[in-house]
Amino acid sequence: MHRIVILGGGKGGTLAANRLRKAYGLNEASVTVVDQDDQHIYQPGLLFVPFGLTHSEDIVRPRGRQLHRGIDYRTSAIIHVDLAGQSVQLADGSELSYDVLVVATGAVLAPDETEGLTGPGWMEKVFTFYTPEGAAALEEALAVFDGGRLVVNVVEMPIKCPVAPLEFCFLADWYFHERGIRDRVELTFVTPLDAAFTKPVAANHLGGLLEQRGIELVTEFNTGEVDGTGGRLVSFDGREVPFDLAVVIPLHNGASYVARSEGLGDALGFVVTDTHTLQAAVAPNVFALGDAASLPVSKAGSVTHFEGEVLVENIRRFLDGEPLDASYDGHANCFIKTGFSKAMLIDFNYDVEPLPGHYPGLVGLPLLKESHLNHLGKLMFQWLYWHSLLPGRDIPGISSAMPLGGKLQALESNVKERVS
């Protein structure tokens, strides 16, 4: 009887548990999931809360209810992992022994690590929409905001869903238009990157879209201090951006028990894993997926979904003593809400940048282009999330390896450009 312990009951932990429960009979393996609370948040929904398009209570469900029968669910904080002893110490005093451990505890926000961020003005004129409380407080603040400088700031990468801050800008543009006060609001996006996004082709498209919408872009700004009283962001190299209302995406770390587990995490507490097999560097029977892993991919739900398949196959191979399947290719895709009932879709992996074309094949959703169809795709996604992705079902036509069919033409011209 294999003992499989999964730390984290969010998207990654839940889909891994459900897929593993299907793969093994009750007498072949036990599957245990641990999380510190029973609130499973549909995180993509947080973006819509500040604009009154959804409410925090509508995007939260009990974690245990998303898990299939036969999965043991424990609510407890985690003290640390004893890698040599193959056990996990829980805050409730119990200890879980494992044959295979899956780390899926995501990323945690660390607003305290930025000087002044949680000081005077926090949750009054300085907000984040990355927590349900922050998103709800920001909804109230936006509702009474009648003009001035609204600044959206990413303190430093990595962050969850790297396109969300841009989407926030586009939605804010739409929101103030709807309220008839867009001309009284100065919108500024302040990023540590040297462009609007990390991937050059998409960065050009998104940068152009910011310009069209009259949103100012400040690049290579490494926030050292947030001065809530004075209303300014101050960079480490002494530059300043003034604001009346700041929406800040704080620094992200891995879960704190990772740092307390010798050798499990990197300097930020993310688990160092093989980029293709998802096996942890520290021990062959430890795997990680989703935001908890230190892979060079976006911390995004789509990544977690695509990793899920490879992870479950590799756990089976590990337990059967077979060589692992090195097939995770860094596949990610993101719907980017651009406001006015439109959205853009991008699709990329470790080696191939987001390209124009269609997803998943020649006939499909348009890529790198605003469209109403993509907007509907994004809306449909929440239903898919609870009913298809978490239960660990495959979506017909969508596989973990990145498809190229619908964008071959773009790929060819991209290659030609590089060659010439």
Binding site: E156, M157, P158, P162, P192, L193, T198, E220, N222, G224, F236, D237, L251, D266, A267, L268, P296, V297, S298
Partner: protein, 105 residues
């Protein structure tokens, strides 16, 4: 790609000025790259960061990001910006002769 004579050695660097072959690096090369980037002289604090970058690269295959440097090098992020203005991780990597850190995705 450009090939240049740095501290008497023929050295190839990429379009952003990072060394293509980190094994061509030595202390004199570091001093010369730093001088060209406007950092002259290199103090003990600079060297502490440069040596740390080298050892991180050798064990992990990539240089650390600014945040990781701030947490692990013994030099605070604030001081890192004083030592290597604008982008400490990028600039220190360049002077340490290692590839541009792949931190941001």
């Amino acid at each position: 790609m450009t090939i240049d004579t740095i501290a008497g050695v023929q050295i190839e660097s990429d379009e952003e000025g990072f060394l293509v072959d980190p094994t061509q690096w030595n202390d004199e090369v570091a001093v010369e790259i730093a001088r060209r980037e406007g950092i002259d002289p290199l103090t003990d604090r600079h060297w502490q960061v440069i040596r740390f970058m080298r050892s991180e690269y050798e064990t992990k295959g990539t240089g650390p990001t600014v945040r990781a440097l701030g947490k692990t090098s013994g030099v605070s992020i604030k001081e890192l910006y004083q030592l290597f203005p604008k982008g400490p991780a990028k600039l220190a990597a360049k002077i340490a002769g290692i590839p541009k850190p792949r931190g941001c995705i």
